[in-house]
């Protein structure tokens, strides 16, 4: 690294601090030399301001269709006092953006946004110091409007002060710089329109699936028809007649066709005659839950332990309640199949993908090709929504393998069956619950056991399919995500024990899907809480309030507010006077996300058609407290997504498979919720401008399955303990109840 100090700029700008601005040279120079800082501890990693005052924001967190490409600039614009239109956002480029971690866990605002706020506040402080000197005024007397600092009638712009030079300022995210008082906010907290919507609506947006590079070829993968099948032979003459086929690439059990045109690649991949060995590595789907229960446990993980549950559960005269819940295997189901482009040039790999974790992907690709990570650059380009770790990273590995084999850039897009068949899955979750009530219906003890796959400690690299099939160096992580979260409960009982039985394996390559673990665990906990309320003949809202920590005022408020919003009528659930074919019910659910952040409470209104078993969610009420709201409208959009997508998962979704392979390979066999079946949604958004902003992309999804199950119980007197609540299961459950 050889960065020149531009002496003229130092002289021109005069002040001491600006000397430090200039120390690292201009940003263009830094970029040209591959030295753009990306450390989390540097302001320059996050921000650059050009001579015209245009601000470039470098974010390791990316917009997955969630709106943070608007919300993150709102935070920076507010803190710097520049217009939103003065901000340009660079996302998820390993050469340019700091590694702020995977875009997951509802942390883009809470964590990524707050790092940006700190960088912007630090930059603003330094700019004001410098402005004060330049204008010969006291810092406290300065005003900033649209990136221009004024003292009386003297003025200097950010662009003039810093224009493309480095800030060269340190950041400590554990001790953030003083930021603006929320009462002065002009941009944060406002329902600013999303910057990406007009181009998306006019067909002008470039998704990953639209992106092209010169000289590019098209690849299509040909996956084995069974997990674990071996490639025995290929008959290349079978695709002879197809124009433009460049190469059939085989490496171990990895197989793909590369062609000049996309259609030729698709045709060739379909037409290629291949012989694969037979493989039956999956459990019998009819006995999935027995399989899960009998899977080898590698360790027991106690997530909360209060008092002595075995003593309390064994007490004479205790009213014991027991239930087992299960939650099906789900696919991410992105509407646009995964897509990536890769290019190998001069020993370096450039990968363009819609990965939510370009910094991790960079390391994974480096491992796969046994090359130093410095020689891999991963660049994010927004794709179809992923809702977690879908196939984007795998497509990136496919493209990289092909680009290496061809010596030209290769674009790979998966077909629908690749996406449904081969994206990693949300693992099956099995939960046993037990509780004891005394004669007055007070809960004496709560015990739960969760049968879930292990999560490799610190290992969140879901193995790349191409590396595994191709026999290349691959990560051996089992990575379902932090699915222990919300296994412990927010209620104060005298005796509580919650534990996870960590299974050595799970039938399908696991990964995280929106609200991983928190959704399944909250589903079981909140349904079971409802079972206890019913056993105690108590109103489910009052029953919950009775056991919430009285000091946790925000929790109590959110639950009380959803009851008010829904005009909750106090009574035990399980209506007595149901008659007719269509019966109605309502259910409540509450969650404090990960027991440390966003509070959510919901009421679901359902109708159940008894003759068919069809459940319809007619209305959904949500009270939501994520602290400071950055963008009300963007928040509502995310919450709509949580509610509607999770109704779909709860009522309809279940991976189908046989002993060899996934069989739900399209939208007919893996149906999702359609327009005629969406509910009316009513919100009470609690804004707390003086509190920290917490995540909102996932938490409200956690209360959807349980609120629906509780509402079905209210309507039918029947508990739905197995997601999805298909008509068959509803009819079956009704038989047992009767």
């Amino acid at each position: 690294m050889n960065i020149e100090i531009t002496r003229r700029e130092i002289l021109k700008s005069g002040g001491a601090l600006v000397v430090s601005f200039s120390l690292a040279g201009t940003l263009d120079q830094a970029l040209a030399q591959g030295a753009k800082p990306v450390a989390l501890t540097e302001v320059d990693s996050f921000l650059a301001i050009d001579p015209k005052g245009m601000v470039t924001v470098y974010s390791g967190k990316v917009d997955l269709g969630t709106g943070v490409a608007t919300a993150l600039p709102q935070i920076v614009a507010e803190e710097l006092d520049v217009p939103l239109t003065a901000i340009r956002l660079v996302q998820g480029d390993t050469a340019l953006t700091p590694d702020q971690g995977t875009t997951w866990g509802s942390l883009s605002i809470q964590l990524g946004g707050m790092q940006l706020r700190n960088a912007a506040a630090t930059a603003r402080g330094a700019l004001l110091d410098e402005g004060a000197k330049r204008l010969n005024a006291k810092k406290g007397d300065l005003k900033v409007v649209d990136g221009v600092i004024t003292a009386g009638n003297r003025r200097v712009s950010y662009g003039e002060l810093i224009g493309n030079k480095s800030f060269n300022l340190k950041l400590d995210h554990t001790k953030p710089a003083a930021s603006k008082d929320p009462k002065d906010y002009k941009i944060v907290g406002k329902p600013v329109s999303r910057v990406d919507i007009p181009p998306k609506v006019f067909g002008q947006f470039t998704y990953m699936q639209d992106f092209r590079v010169p000289g590019m070829l098209h690849g299509r993968v040909v996956r084995p028809p069974a997990f674990g099948a071996n490639l025995e032979s290929i008959d290349e003459s079978s695709i002879k007649g197809i124009a433009g086929v460049v190469k059939v690439v085989r490496q171990g059990n990895f197989l793909a066709v590369v062609a000049e045109s996309e259609w030729s690649a698709i045709k060739a991949a379909r037409q290629l005659k291949i012989s694969w060995s037979k493989a039956e590595t999956l459990p019998d789907p009819a006995r999935l839950w027995e399989h899960v229960r009998q899977s080898k446990v590698t360790k027991d993980e106690v997530t909360s332990n209060v008092g002595n549950t075995s003593e309390a559960l064994g007490k004479d005269g205790a009213n014991l309640v027991k239930a087992t819940y299960d939650f099906a295997i789900h696919t991410h189901g992105s509407i646009g199949p995964s897509c990536a482009i890769a290019e190998f040039k001069d020993g370096k790999l450039t990968s363009w993908s819609a990965s939510q974790a370009t910094h991790s992907l960079r390391k994974q690709l480096a491992t796969m090709f046994a090359m130093p990570p410095e020689n891999v650059r991963c660049i994010y380009i927004e794709g179809s929504g992923c809702y977690g770790r879908n196939g984007h990273e795998d497509a990136a590995a496919d493209a990289a393998l092909l680009a290496k084999a061809l010596g030209r850039p290769v674009r790979v897009q998966w077909m629908r069956e690749d996406e449904h068949g081969w994206d990693p899955k949300g693992p099956p979750t099995l939960i046993d619950l037990r509780a004891a009530l005394d004669e007055e219906g007070n809960v004496q003890a709560w015990e739960s056991e969760f049968f879930v796959p292990l999560q490799t400690p610190g290992g969140f690299n879901v193995p790349l399919i191409a590396a595994t099939l191709g026999g290349m160096p691959a990560d051996d992580h089992i990575a379902p995500g932090n699915i222990f979260q919300n296994s412990a409960i927010p209620y104060k009982f005298a005796n509580i024990k919650t534990q996870l039985h960590r299974l050595e394996n799970t039938p399908f390559r696991p990964s995280w899907i929106r609200t991983p673990g928190r959704m399944q665990n909250t589903y079981a906990n909140e349904c079971f809480m409802d079972e206890l309320a019913a056993a105690a003949s108590a109103d489910p809202v009052e029953f919950r309030l009775k056991y919430l920590d009285p000091a946790d005022k925000r929790g109590i408020e959110v639950l009380s507010r959803v009851a008010a919003l829904a005009k909750w009528e106090k009574r035990p659930s399980g209506k007595a006077d149901q008659s007719g074919d269509v019966v109605k019910g309502r259910g409540v659910a509450y969650c404090k996300y990960e027991l440390v952040r966003t509070y959510i409470a919901a009421v679901a209104d359902v109708e159940v058609k008894r003759s068919t078993g069809d459940i319809r969610v007619t209305k959904f009420y949500l009270a939501h407290d994520c602290g400071q709201i950055i963008n009300q409208d963007g928040l509502k959009n995310q919450l709509d997504g949580n509610i509607i997508q999770t109704i779909s998962r709860t009522l309809l979704e279940e991976l189908k498979f046989n002993r060899s392979m996934v069989t739900s390979l399209d939208w007919e066999s893996y149906p999702i919720l359609r327009f005629p079946d969406i509910p009316e949604i009513v919100y009470d958004l609690i804004d707390r401008p003086n509190e920290k902003p917490w995540g909102a992309g996932e938490p409200s999804a956690a209360v959807v399955p349980c609120a629906i199950s509780n509402a079905v119980f209210d309507a039918l007197g029947t508990r739905m303990r197995s997601v999805p609540f298909t008509p068959d299961k509803v009819r079956e459950a009704m038989k047992h109840a009767a």
Partner: protein, 155 residues
Amino acid sequence: MAQRKSLNVNGKAVQITIDDPEMPLLYALRDNLGLHGPRFGCGLAQCGACTVHVDGNAVRSCSAPLSTITSQQKIVTLEGLGTPQKPHPVQRAFIEEQAVQCGYCINGVIMESAAFLAANRKPSEAQVKEALANNLCRCGTHARIVKAVMRAAQT
């Protein structure tokens, strides 16, 4: 074998070179003409992401072989429906209602809605939902989309 094919796309006569007359229209629009509106979603006419108008009708371009399309037929994609300067009422309504999350399905939803509204002036909300029953959205933007289509219907 390379051959020429004439199409009328977004009001312009265009000629493309193709190897296979059975290639679906979608690939001609995206790969030969570089359009971004119509999108590949399933290739099975199940999700609607690829929807375009052919003579005003909403058509799944992933499953419409070029051999079935003549140079006389008017193909309109999202780009041709309206522009930022002259937006179609449905496009304007989608911006006003902020009815997009990831937006991958939005092309199909807008094209389907525009064709539906052209034939149904004052639909009920239930009719709009039925009209979109075969368009899939994974993000859960449905409620806003319905509001946007209803707004467009009133303009």
